[in-house]
Amino acid sequence: MRDLILEKKKDIVKRWIELTIDTYPPEGGSFMKNQKNQFANPVGAAILNGAETLYKWIMSGDKDLSPDVVRRLDDVIRIRAVQQFSASDAVGFIFLLKRVIRETLLRDALKDKNDLQELFDIDSRIDSLALHAFNMYMKCREKLFEIRAMEIRNRTSRILERACMKYGAPHEW
């Protein structure tokens, strides 16, 4: 089965990207698929590069996420964490890969027990990636709240600091 997966890698990744982009409104999605310049279409570029790198990791035997994989996953999650998605929608695109693999391979590939074992392995790697993604999503959301708090604090901190200096009050805080 692994041979087949390797052979069909291009189709699988392509379909995964398609399904992920389909979570956007069609007009936005068609732009993300067609505009090739990464700076004109940074969301599309992040999904494209992300899918390829993540797929490679899932099919590899690597235990930990390499810095490159972390960065690519973070790129996609950081974007989806501020878009019009619920938490499950934001990270759920990872599970779409299960669907793609089943649709692409199931009929041809599952010939014996080993194949099934392999499929389960892939499934659990996808699950593990999704858990990583969930951690990243939470970090992004926490960051947003932190920025909000920081902005509110900074609006007056300088004035307070100056006022304290002027009237001799301690201003360390």
């Binding site: 019009q84 695109f93 299960k98 099934l116 960051k143």
Partner: protein, 539 residues
């Protein structure tokens, strides 16, 4: 296990991911999700300005407490504006929906939401125009692209016209020259007629109207703040600056955004101006009345732009100056460059600006009599009037974000770059389709840079951030330069989220770092109080 015993893929994939609406854009209602809209204007601020329908309300509520005849008011307002502004009628009629602008908006690129395509954003209002103001629309209705103005349409206007930063990137690509920002401006004017506005715009406007600046700081408060800055400058350089304030008969009036008085990192840029003018021995003055370059009237209505901008010429006249220098502000320059003469001119009591240091005539400012600080400074550098030590900025590896309004509205593309290249050694440009005329907005202009709108801001900020991250990866850039007070605030949040190792700052902060001043002590720290050199190397 047999194959047929396996669960179906659909059963395993029991997650129903976000499905886009199946209705057409005209019938898809707006969802007000927390983090994607700005809080409405407080009634007290509307009262100060004499604006319509002061009350407490929330966009998330079903009932927006509108006047009963809101529809009549809006349609009448549209009629008046179609007659008054030729550009508005032209922009309503001329669009052929070619799509050139469609993918140029940072909010569309960052969100994928089709109503953030400039063409569709304008279509929100254009559909009502067709329905009520064109014969074809009246006859054909929906078939002719017309749409009745309903409460849902009005809510959609509020959501999307306060989701446009008026950055005008889309207009660069329009073959007909449609300025979609002006459509947004009219949209906001109309919304104001029934009391639909946001507090982040209206509160600065109300403050400005009363005290001259966005933060509502009275004159003695400003003087205090400025003097604190001169104290900091003395600590860093050993030079005590005696700041000219409200000085009658000075040659030049200096006007800059008040954001730079209180909020870091703008304060460092403000200190930079003070140091530069002191070193030149310039005969100029600060003003506690014209204490704000920014003009959030631009995000409210044409009448409000005029009302707030009047103070600059009024103060110039009162003090008897010859001409005016304006600081590093963004939308201030759109107002000065494109509306000031018509609204508040002619400034025939002022003289054509001539630099007292180099003798250069600023012919481009003949009409407004206002010169941008980077025009003034780049001329000084070109004529060798400044002693600069760029190595003092060696710790900084910078890139430059063209602020939308200075770049697209005022054409200031080369001057800031010329200054930057002369004050530092490490400068790298972002990719060319993200700078100069094509620069991407910070995502928080036009009054949208408030904290409650943070999610939307980060979506809009992503195109800029993606270009920034490219130069961070490639050249280890650690400073994002800009010349706009809104940028200095909003890009700071952008960097926190998208590029945490990058700090934000203005150009004149770095100029003042590099400026070798007469009688200064040996500089050990920069304007931020951080060591100039690499400490480890010093040891």
């Amino acid at each position: 296990m047999e194959l047929h015993d396996l669960p179906k893929p659909q059963d395993l994939m029991n997650i129903d991911l976000n499905k886009p609406p199946e209705t057409g854009w005209m019938d898809t209602p707006t969802v007000f999700r927390n983090g994607t809209y700005s809080y409405p204007a407080a009634g007290k601020n509307l009262k100060i300005l004499g604006l319509a329908n002061p009350r407490q309300w929330s966009p998330a509520d079903e009932d927006w407490k509108l006047p009963e005849n809101w529809k009549e008011i809006i349609l009448q307002g549209m009629k008046e504006r179609l007659e008054k502004y030729r550009s508005f009628r032209l922009f309503m009629d001329i669009c052929v929906r070619c799509g050139a602008c469609a993918d140029k908006c940072h909010f569309f690129i960052g969100s994928g939401d089709p109503k953030n395509m400039p063409v569709l954003r304008a279509e929100l209002i254009r559909s009502v125009y067709r329905n009520d103001f064109t014969l074809l629309g009246k006859m054909l209705g929906r078939l002719g692209g017309g749409r009745e103005l309903t409460i849902d349409v009005l809510k959609e206007w509020f959501y999307y016209f306060f989701q446009c930063t008026e950055c005008r990137r889309c207009s660069v690509f329009c073959p007909y020259g449609i300025d979609t920002a002006e459509v947004t401006m009219i949209g906001r004017e109309l919304l104001n007629l029934v009391g639909l506005n946001i507090n982040w715009v209206i509160e600065p406007v109300a403050n400005c109207y009363r005290t001259g600046n966005h933060l509502g700081i009275p004159p003695h408060g400003l003087v205090d703040m400025w003097q604190f800055m001169t104290d900091d400058i003395e600590d860093i350089t050993g030079i005590k600056i005696d700041l000219p304030i409200n000085k009658k008969g000075a040659e030049i009036l200096f006007v800059t955004p008040s954001g730079d008085y209180f909020a870091d990192p703008g304060t460092y840029t403000c200190m930079g101006y003070m140091m530069l003018f002191h070193e030149l021995g310039l005969d100029y003055t600060w003003s506690t009345y014209a204490s704000e370059g920014g003009n959030f009237g631009l995000f409210t209505s044409h009448e409000m732009i005029k009302r707030l901008n009047a103070k600059i010429y009024a103060e110039a006249k009162r003090l008897g100056v010859k001409w005016i220098i304006g600081g590093e502000c963004g939308h201030m320059w759109r107002v000065i460059h494109q509306y000031m003469e018509t609204m508040n001119g002619p400034a025939d009591f002022l003289e054509e600006p001539v630099s007292p240091i180099t003798g250069t005539k600023f012919e481009n400012a003949k009409q407004s009599k206002m010169v941008h600080i980077t025009e003034f400074t780049s001329d000084l550098i070109k004529n060798g009037k400044l002693k600069l030590d760029p190595s003092r900025n060696d710790k900084i590896i910078a890139t430059y974000h063209d602020s939308c309004n200075t770049a697209r509205a005022a054409g200031l593309l080369e001057e800031p770059r010329y200054v930057i290249r002369n004050i530092m050694n490490n400068f790298y440009e972002m990719p060319e389709n993200t700078i100069r005329e094509q620069t991407f907005c910070c995502g928080g202009g036009a009054g949208l840079g408030n904290d409650e709108n943070i999610e939307m801001r980060m979506r809009g900020a992503f195109p800029r951030a993606s270009a920034l991250r490219h130069v961070v990866d490639k050249h280890a850039v650690n400073r994002l330069l800009c010349m706009c007070a809104i940028d200095r605030a909003t890009l700071t949040a952008l960097c926190h989220y998208w590029a945490p190792d990058v700090t934000v700052g203005g150009i004149h902060e770095l100029l003042a770092n590099a400026l070798v001043m007469k009688g200064e002590k040996e500089r050990t720290v920069d304007l931020r109080g951080e060591p100039l050199g690499d400490e480890e190397e010093d040891e």
